[in-house]
Assembly symmetry: none
């Protein structure tokens, strides 16, 4: 079927790794009818973004530091009227969390090492409502593309990590408006140590600077006003 849609297909990317977001964006934006309307570094930031951007599709990582894809999916479907289609993104086809996400109401499932054309295909199918890669289809996908890749998607296979305790401590103090030096004093460690933690936090949250990290902390419910 040929679609001469004037309205581009809008999509929101949610992944804690900037690299993955950049990759997905590059692949998807190459399509004239697909428009990436937003990015988020954590699942908990999704709801406000969905409300504001109202994307057709949300491509969401399963594992993320503050709120994982399952929780986020559940939250979106529970609180947003006329919710977008949700595609779970994962590195491993046997990721048990994927099934949990699908039970939570996700519409599809996508392997990070899928080829660009496959990614585009999956997004289009899900957007059209024919929810596709379900567990059954997952096996097919895994079977067809699971063996060899060595493709450029190797970058996606990175270890993701949640914030460590210390990093949470630091982030919490960041949300109180403290400078690195002040945080160091509070935690009774060196300023260089704090800098290290801050860098890790920024990387994990996909934030460019401490301000963005604090915003993510608020948007995710890591801290709340009042």
């Amino acid at each position: 079927m040929i679609y001469a849609d004037r309205m581009p297909l809008t999509i929101l990317l949610v992944d804690d790794e900037p690299l993955v977001r950049a990759g997905l964006r590059a692949v998807l934006e190459a399509q004239p009818d697909i428009e990436v309307v937003g990015e988020a570094a954590d699942g908990a930031a999704v709801i406000p973004l969905v409300r504001r951007l109202r994307p057709d599709v949300v491509a969401m990582d399963v594992r993320m530091p503050l709120m994982d894809g399952i929780e986020a999916t559940r939250a979106v479907l529970r609180t947003v009227p006329d919710p977008p289609k949700i595609i779970m993104v994962t590195t491993f086809e046997n990721d048990e969390n994927v099934y949990g996400a699908l039970r939570a109401g996700a519409d599809g499932f996508l392997l990070k090492r899928a080829r660009p054309a496959e990614i585009v295909h999956a997004v289009r199918l899900v957007a059209e409502g024919d929810s596709l890669p379900f567990p059954a289809a997952v096996r097919r996908l895994a079977a067809s593309y699971g063996e060899n890749d060595g493709n450029a998607e190797a970058r996606a296979v990175l270890s993701r990590a949640a914030l460590t305790r210390r990093e949470e401590d630091v982030l919490r103090l960041m949300t109180r408006g403290l400078s690195n030096a002040e945080i160091a004093a509070h935690l009774v460690v060196g300023a260089e140590t704090v800098k290290s933690h801050v860098s890790s936090i920024l990387a994990k949250l996909g934030a460019r600077d401490r301000t963005q990290a604090v915003i993510t902390a608020y948007e995710s419910g890591f801290v709340s006003p009042g």
Copy 2:
């Protein structure tokens, strides 16, 4: 936020209820740099006391038997040279009299149910003079009257000098994690212009950097997560 104290901050309490005065005194005197220099039971007694004690701040109830907070504020500002900062104290955030008092020249308002730390914070902010909240936050407060109770920090202070429209624009973009350059591009102005606005915002909010400004924006309800 970190406060570098200079001279002790003197304050005069004006409330017809001894209990409230005692509560405020207890909270404020717990601070080494804050000194309650006097008390009054009615607005009518304020002027001579202010003249004699010359407090930095007057915390004044809105409603009092003989002379209410509005009248008293007006009287002080009209007759006392180099008048103190005036904080209106009230029970309800949607108290119409509060707005009247603010129009009369009060420097901020404070909810009686605010937590101690927030009361102290509010007093300090007002005393420093360079602290201000947003009309939008106040409106939102009035709208959400009766819903929640915490987060009085944001509601604690309102000032005559609010953010200008342009400053609100800039702050809003700051809360989305944009850099000065990006904000400039968004608003189609020069980067130097944005820097000016940011500096004004920081000064008005009593923030040291953009991160603190964003925090204040969240804490005040200027923006809210989800």
